[in-house]
Symmetry: C2
Subunit: 479 residues, 2 copies
């Protein structure tokens, strides 16, 4: 009945991840190489991520819309660095309705171009600004090496696209959305991210500035978990997005874009998961609690199921997303393992003894074994469960933060840097350029993840050039 | 300041529709022929449609998931009638990552094939059944004649795909989802639809039975507004979806699919709209009420805006989606026209006299001019607004039902039939076949919309063949 265990994270982090995604039924491979099916359990997680981000987008004045999937190939060519960045990754439709198309169409890899075209039409005057629009969709990028959730040919995301009257407003928007992402990551996904600005070589193709939130995975590698771009007037000029300003002059708009994708699911897996499987932050978990009834005969079953039904009602009434696992023919032990694999934060066991004593057993997913299991009274169960879920949410963030901080090393030399990136992140004073970044990448596989917004102040000698540097940078190997 | 009026519906229904969609900012044309941009106001309407359908899907046990956009072309060829139906409409990706693909990929026109492939992998035993999954996405069909919302190359929809152990269960599911669509249409969109079964020639490519809900538009034409298909074992055999039954035998599953798309927005426009523009059913309207402040100077403005802010808070607290139109530099008359164009069900006007008398003016969108305008007390405004919105919702359904019923004619001869379809629907005893349907279509442009589930019983002579018929059918010209 019991399935083989996952490889441990220490043994083979990569294989642990791949097997977990499949066995927790988060996603599956599609028939087309590198494409992904997001299964109902994974999609329910993504729906919770969507809901909590969407609430934040709307609270900051954004509206959703839908722009087309198919974009004339020539559109991408209007912005030089944009086409340079994306042309190797395009999926191209050349046939429609059994006929060769006059102009090939690309399946959107991102929508700055087609949205820029619409904005040029919609925006006439300063009165029309700012335009603050987001869309939830999928995009296609022809990636060669793929991994479920982290890098797939098609992935699901949101992309915000805004237009403003001034550089300052666009920059403010870019930073605001970075803050939204950081807030979401910390408070919903329990991911302690580092917000920062990208170096020139890691910028989005077509952006003047790219900001990102960077998270440390359980193996010490970095994952870029959301990006926000100040596009300057690059796309406004390429697509002629102009407005008549208060002073009577026609000016180009300043635009931004920002995106967060199903990659974040990969981050949640790799930050919180353990050797038993997934551990989901309660605020995003499709099921926050699972009730497993335990009984040996019909008599016990009837008594237990009555208590289970009552507990389910109570928890649901308290706003807890609860699932009862009443599957026949499976042992409680099998069910425990199954829900541990799927990362449900709280397990509630109800057996015949519990019926008699008006108790239930609560098992916390974040504290495996006996340590996380307590016997609690049936009376007031919902309040205890709610408080425990809050505690799990906080504990996951605290644990991930402690892990991250223990694995960031401040380094002053290239040797120390090389040691640091074997373990986690290297933080160092930095005054290098793109060529030096490239050399470091070739020699160590580490990249400049970001220049954190939070800086110590003052200056220090660059760990590579020795030149005085005003900022520190974070380097790591990355997914 | 004021824009030219729409053409009236009587003058040019088609042009009335096209202009309304653009001027109400529901949608816009995309740069690629036949593609659509759904603008924020249109998308907010679609989000409300999605939410009320999704609630119903989940209440009937369905889960959401996401299947890939790109499907190997060979997949479609596995089901003979499916490929025959869809191959003229395919968009084909032949290049990926700058290389010619070995096998061309189609952009999904619908997902029975790729989902069938996944189900074959996931389903092993009767314990795994039923599988009840839905996805919200867009699909691409290379249509030649397009019209915003009604027929576009890319459109937005949901597609449910289920697998069952028996024919009876699949048929029950097919009918259940038809009922869900009919319930949604009547109770949310205020569309009095006719649920029925399609004739063989109007069936979905690959289905054994296709059911639909048919609505009558304001010009008497029909619009198929949602379909539910019993796919029999056709896709199960094509994709080898088998399960081990309780009796130890391996059997093919029985599958269904069902879909409702952004066409329904077209139905809402064409059923409820009037010569002033859109009229939205309150349950789906992005804004259920708009408050327009009226003032001539700063003094008046301050007093009026204080009352407006209070009214806004009250309405929002009562769960009413309310918008305040405080735009500068536009006259109240302009704003009235603008929100009438956009179909907001209830307008609330607040002027200096209202401040003094503690009143506001309520104007119902469904009763233009003086008739729909009443002066009500500020006290208890939210309760009056809620009741009025309920009343508007009911009135829209009643009006559309009366219109539909007045424009369905029972006909016994082909001559009467031809007259009936000039006005609306023709209902007749029917014992004809596909060839006869084809002849009628060629001669009159009318198609057999459905054989309604609700039948009078008994028999009658077929209006074309004179043979005794057990069922009546509905014919109409259709969008």
């Amino acid at each position: 009945m019991s399935e083989p265990k996952l490889p441990t994270r220490a043994e083979d982090f990569n294989e642990w991840y791949n097997q977990l995604v499949i066995r927790a039924e988060l996603a599956d491979y599609a028939p087309v190489r590198g494409c992904m099916i997001v299964r109902p359990y994974g999609w329910a997680l993504w729906e919770n991520i969507q809901a909590s981000l969407d609430r934040r987008f709307k609270a900051t004045g954004h509206l959703n819309a839908a722009f087309p999937l198919l974009i004339p190939k020539s559109f991408l060519e209007r912005e030089a660095s944009h086409v340079e960045g994306f042309s190797p990754e395009l999926a191209v439709v050349t046939i429609g309705g059994n006929k060769e198309l006059e102009e090939p169409l690309v399946v959107r890899p991102t929508s700055e171009t087609v949205i820029g075209h619409a904005y040029a039409k919609w925006i006439q005057s300063y009165r029309d600004l700012p335009v603050l629009i987001n869309q939830w969709c999928s995009v296609v990028r022809w990636e060669l090496r793929t991994k479920l959730f982290l890098r797939t040919l098609e992935f699901f995301w949101q992309e915000g696209h805004t237009a403003h009257a001034t550089f300052a407003e666009a920059e403010e928007e870019t930073r605001r959305m970075l803050d939204v992402y950081a807030d979401f990551a910390m408070n919903e996904a329990a991911l302690p991210v580092i917000p920062g600005i990208k170096s020139e070589s890691e910028r989005f193709a077509g952006a003047d500035r790219t900001y990102s939130i960077e998270a440390m995975m359980g193996d010490g590698k970095a994952l870029q978990s959301g990006t926000s771009h100040n596009l300057g007037q690059n796309f406004a000029k390429a697509f002629d997005i102009q407005f008549l300003d208060r002073d009577g002059e026609r000016k180009f708009c300043w635009t931004t874009s920002w995106g967060l994708s199903t990659r974040i699911v990969g981050a949640i897996i790799m930050v919180h998961g353990d050797d038993q499987g997934l551990i989901l932050p309660p605020r995003l978990a499709p099921f926050q609690a699972v009730i497993v009834p335990i009984h040996k005969n019909d008599d016990e079953r009837a008594q237990v199921m009555e208590v289970v039904a009552g507990a389910q009602r109570e928890l649901a009434a308290a706003g807890i997303r609860v699932k009862v696992d009443a599957r026949d023919g499976l042992t409680p032990g099998f069910k425990f393992n199954d829900w541990e694999m799927r990362g449900v934060p709280l397990r509630i066991e109800v057996g015949p003894k519990d019926v008699a004593k008006r108790t239930v057993a609560l098992a916390r997913r974040d504290r495996p074994g006996k340590e996380g299991k307590t016997l609690v009274s049936r009376d007031g169960l919902a309040a205890v469960a709610s408080a425990t879920l809050d505690d799990i949410q906080a504990a996951l963030l605290a644990k991930a933060t402690a892990f991250r901080d223990a694995n960031i090393r401040d380094v002053a030399t290239y040797d120390a840097f090389k040691e640091a990136i074997e373990i986690g992140f290297a933080r160092a004073w930095w005054a290098g350029d793109a060529a030096l970044e490239q050399r470091i990448k070739e020699e160590t596989k580490a990249t400049l993840r970001c220049i954190p917004l939070d800086q110590p102040g003052g200056t220090g000698p660059c760990f590579m050039t020795g030149r005085p540097a005003a900022t520190q940078a974070i380097f790591a190997r990355a997914y």
